[in-house]
Assembly symmetry: C2
Homo-oligomer: 653 residues x 2
């Protein structure tokens, strides 16, 4: 650290020792990365990052994403020293029950944490979404929305496919304000990166259209500074390769063993020696706090200047300013429901087509909606005629061509949703929800209101066959906590499903839609849909209930008709959203599904899970098959006759 | 097609017209890719591919993978014309119920189809596994196992993250016999690839360490030929960029609309005109069959030569030849069970550690076992002391360092399993099974006996927190048809789980293992484990059953003890594998879970699905939290007191 002042050195060592001591105290964690990247992070946080520790919600703050989330102590140390509301007491309780310093950074849990990271590749991909959001919001609101997005990423982040997908798209879109510090420390859990990672990642990023700064000495603050300046000046997204030394200062420096776990008292003591750090654990000398004070001061000045800028903007464009406030508070415009389309019973319309019709109404009303598809636009019905593509040259566009990159789409949508001012939705086939599950999970964990549009929702996909026919996906999505899964029965339920998804701000929603046409039904009740389940067709003296979702509701109604002729009255219940239904009172739920009555469930997916509601299930415990949809559907048992027969068998008649 | 002979032109047009007419007949499918890639595929299949249409199981055949599986008619046309058992009648029934020509190629369904493709990126990643298997088997058995692996991949394949991961690893390992024809047609479903894919993929592949042949005119047979020759000669994996014209010969040539759907009679007629094709649909002139006859003749000659080579090999190395036969027939050596380790009740051992101990015994006995981990080797306990790494320079090694590439690991393992002679297993954390779900699904769909080792199987992961604590993964995996999920309760059950997984050849198995130590239990019954569920501890006059899996079985046993003291006898059932249990007779199942008794299920995961067996569930309908594992476990309700209380509540006492 030749060019490092003594104060800088002290501050950097404070970060290192906080990380080392916290991991030691917890006897758990990852000291190596924070110790290696402390100098680069110090330069970034004290000289470049535009943020105000006293207001972590300032809309124009730069975003910092620790994609290598296992190095969480780096972030916690920086947050603490910079003056965020993260007292030393919380650092002492690193990785303990109820602390603000969990093992990996958690959005919504710790002030200043912008995104939940840890699952590798997600952070950098989410950051691409943040950078897209910034470009989009600047196009809409001007410089008041401008910020950079900075990422610290590891070898592991760069090995994951999701980062490859997202980085390719970032290059395509020319996201110049995205700057990634790549912790090029040559070490992964298994050992040297030479074991599995001998590609040339810098050349790869150049192939994506990125600006690359190679071989920056991670101990040389001036080199880091100049790389960051170069990155800011370049119109392309930037990858700065920081040659760091994992576990710097410790006896394990440069070794894979420095990556994780407490080093033990001897090695910690030796590190104190090497770094010349005389302070006991969790004690930071006043010079360090004084050094970081400028971060807070600079942040307050910057936000004050921005506030003045915003006020001029508000004077010049009062409506835009009001709109900005509305968007940041995630309030929908009033009276949205009145604008939803109505559908006439008797028509036949795929729910994906109905979804497209609903979007035609919503898109002009809700400028926060940003659509997209993973190269299935004509199939997902996600692009309305008055949408323009969001491109490098048209950042005001509202439709993102994600390419065949489902996983990146999920993470990027999460990144946009984190802006609060955008409400992203994106489409693919339901079966390919599997490709993006880690991003769906993170949306659920963070509580971001990402909207996943999954069309082609069952074996009724038909000719494309089992690789394209979801069977287990629907129930697998229902298994994710805090994800709402809505499978509307018809066009009318689809309109309500969109409203429910938009009104939900506490977590993501998956809309599960048919490829094939289904009848527009009588008996759809918007309030019932919003409650997750309701009686769509009752029968006097019902002896059983048939409960179904999506396309199988029409089938249940047909079976009801057959049984009616035989003098067997049955009630039909539509259950489009389990999560909403389960949030209702017991009284409501029992009014819909009376405890005394036997229940047959009908859904073109695995039966697993339906036992919660049903005595008997018409489902599918196998993969589908390639044939025209009506053939597949009927051959695999989805006929009104079968449903009626199962009801009779259930009743023993 | 300047340098094309009239016969070649005729054969190529036959492929094109079969594709176009089959899609037309089915009114469904993807004509564009087969029409564009017909010339390149023709050169590959007639001049390069070492295969014998009369014996699609010849072990040393070259593998052909249509990664762009939507172009299935290209493959079906080639199989038919080459003389595989795929009569014209089957081509006429393209995409119909029960035909041998489903929408996407399905392994095990159509002779000559090497791998199920359609979900983009999977084919190329699986092919990397096939190429690894070849190197490994050549290292073991010599040239009798040698073959090339050829792939046709699309823009979409190259956009998917899984292909990026696998391709990076292929470059790292120097898999020179892997040759990818990249259909560089500039078109995807949404439109021009310029919409989303403007990176330089060739440069990217160079960065991976691949040999790249740019800008090969897809209509120029000589250029394709010379590119393939160059690729064969180069020691690196090769990517040949074939500039093809999607929908060549049709009025939609070069347009996105050529990608999918029947073109309609007018355009089909116009194509006949343009290509000078006077024949009715599904009629192929004898000259074409004659042209392809050389494929069959060459194939028979090649296989006969190989057979002679194999016989010399068998004479020189009779034991190796016998071993080769054993391996190809997927038979395990006799008496494996006797070699499994025994564990003494009273010990405490994580099931991941027990798994490591089991592997220490199995690895020397089963040379077909190829291990690996996605950079979590020390955590997954997947590498035994006598394993060497499989590397570029040591292809005899048996352990693969996949790097942080879970998804590629899954697909690569599937590719190795398809060789039949290798039994791959690979480890990651259970929560990251989400990253590889599409590959797990394909293993289940194909019926390949891939073994997924998922450690760190619940909130008991502890300090790493909710991003690393699986909650919904276990049940989500159970939802996949034909995947066996085994969650052993202790070390003894873990040994049986490995045996069950190895004996299973009809599909994949997921082993779900603890991070934390659990007691070695009394009462473990190997036959019961193999049957999926059994009474691990009964009680005279049991009033209830507590059913549990994995680490929660010990908890159930402790609760049983508590309740016993209160005079409430309960039975404890261990249910490590639902799929095996559900394959038992009703009598067996009811002997374990008697219909009259109330059942409490205990599992540290989502309750969804447990209603199949249980009246009441101690589960987790939320994400976990970061804290030492004992704290998380207890705070989230996994205590013997809670379990006992729930039993009492269930019994109303």
């Amino acid at each position: 650290m030749t060019q490092t002042t003594s104060v800088a050195r002290l501050s950097i060592n404070a970060i290192r020792m906080l990380a080392l001591d916290a991991v030691e105290q917890a006897r758990s964690g990852h000291p190596g990365m924070p110790m290696g990247m402390a100098p680069a992070a110090y330069v970034l946080w004290t000289e470049f990052l535009k943020h105000n520790p006293l207001d972590p919600t300032w809309p124009a703050r730069d975003r910092f994403v620790l994609s290598a989330g296992h190095g969480s102590m780096l972030l916690y140390a920086l947050l603490h020293l910079s003056g965020y509301d993260l007292p030393m007491e919380e650092l002492r309780r690193f990785r303990q029950w109820g602390s603000k310093t969990p093992g990996h950074p958690e959005y919504g849990h710790t002030p200043g944490v912008e995104v939940t990271t840890g699952p590798l590749g997600q952070g950098i991909a989410t950051a691409v979404g943040m950078a897209i959001a910034e470009r989009k919001l600047v196009a809409e609101f001007g410089e008041i929305a401008a910020h950079h997005t900075y990422v610290i990423a590891s070898d592991g982040d760069l090995m994951e496919g999701v980062s490859a997908e997202a980085s390719s798209l970032a290059g395509h879109l020319g996201l110049g304000k995205l700057i990634v510090l790549y912790d090029d420390n040559g070490v992964s859990i298994d050992g040297s990166t030479a074991l599995a990672f001998t590609e040339d990642p810098l050349r790869r990023y150049e192939a994506y259209g990125w600006h690359v700064v190679p071989e920056v000495d991670g101990e040389d603050l001036a080199a880091v500074r100049s790389a960051l300046q170069e990155a800011q000046a370049d119109p392309r997204p930037s990858l700065i390769a920081v040659r760091s030394i994992i576990g710097y200062g410790s006896p394990l420096a440069g070794q894979p063993k420095a990556h994780s776990d407490a080093m033990g008292p001897e090695k910690v003591a030796a590190t104190r020696e090497t770094l010349g750090w005389p302070y006991p654990p969790f004690e930071v000398p006043e010079e360090v706090y004084a050094d970081f004070r400028r971060v807070r001061e600079r942040g307050q000045e910057l936000q004050a200047a921005w506030q003045a800028q915003f006020e001029s903007f508000a004077q010049a464009h009062p409506e835009k300013a009001a709109e900005f406030h509305r968007r940041m508070s995630q309030r929908l415009p009033e009276g949205l429901e009145a604008h939803l389309p109505r559908f006439a019973p008797g028509e036949r319309m795929a729910t994906r087509a109905a979804s497209g019709k609903v979007l035609e109404r919503l898109v002009p009303l809700l400028p926060e909606l940003v659509g997209g598809s993973a190269d299935l636009t004509p199939s997902n019905n996600t692009r309305t005629p008055d949408m323009q593509d969001f491109t490098r040259d048209n950042p005001a566009g509202r439709y993102i061509r994600y390419g065949v990159r489902e996983h990146a789409m999920g993470a990027i949508m999460n990144g946009m949703a984190l802006s609060k001012a955008l409400r992203p939705y994106g489409g693919t086939f339901l079966v390919f929800s599997d490709y993006m599950r880690p991003a769906i999970r993170l949306a659920a964990l963070m509580g971001t209101p990402t909207i996943f549009v999954f069309t082609h929702d069952s074996i009724a996909v038909g000719e494309d066959g089992p690789t394209h026919q979801p069977v287990e996906q629907l129930m697998s999505l229902r298994a994710i906590p805090n994800l709402w899964v809505i499978r509307p029965a018809d066009a009318g339920e689809t309109a309500v499903a969109w409203r429910v998804a938009l009104e939900r701000t506490a977590g993501p929603t998956a809309l599960v839609l048919t490829r094939q046409p289904v009848p527009v039904l009588e008996g759809v009740r918007p309030d019932g849909v919003a409650r997750g389940g309701y009686v769509i067709a009752d029968a006097e003296g019902a002896r059983a209930v048939v409960v179904a979702t999506g396309s199988e509701v029409a089938l249940a109604l047909e079976a009801q008709g057959l049984l009616h002729k035989e003098g067997i009255p049955v009630r039909v219940v539509s259950l489009p959203c389990w999560e909403a239904f389960e949030a209702q009172t017991q009284a409501y739920r029992e009014a819909v599904l009376p405890p005394g009555l036997p229940v047959l469930a009908v859904e073109a997916g695995v039966p697993l899970g339906w036992e919660r509601y049903a005595t008997r299930v018409v489902g599918l415990d196998r993969f589908g098959a390639s044939a025209p949809f009506a053939d597949v559907y009927a051959k695999l048992g989805f006929t009104k006759e079968r449903v009626a027969a199962e009801v009779r068998a259930m009743l023993g008649v």
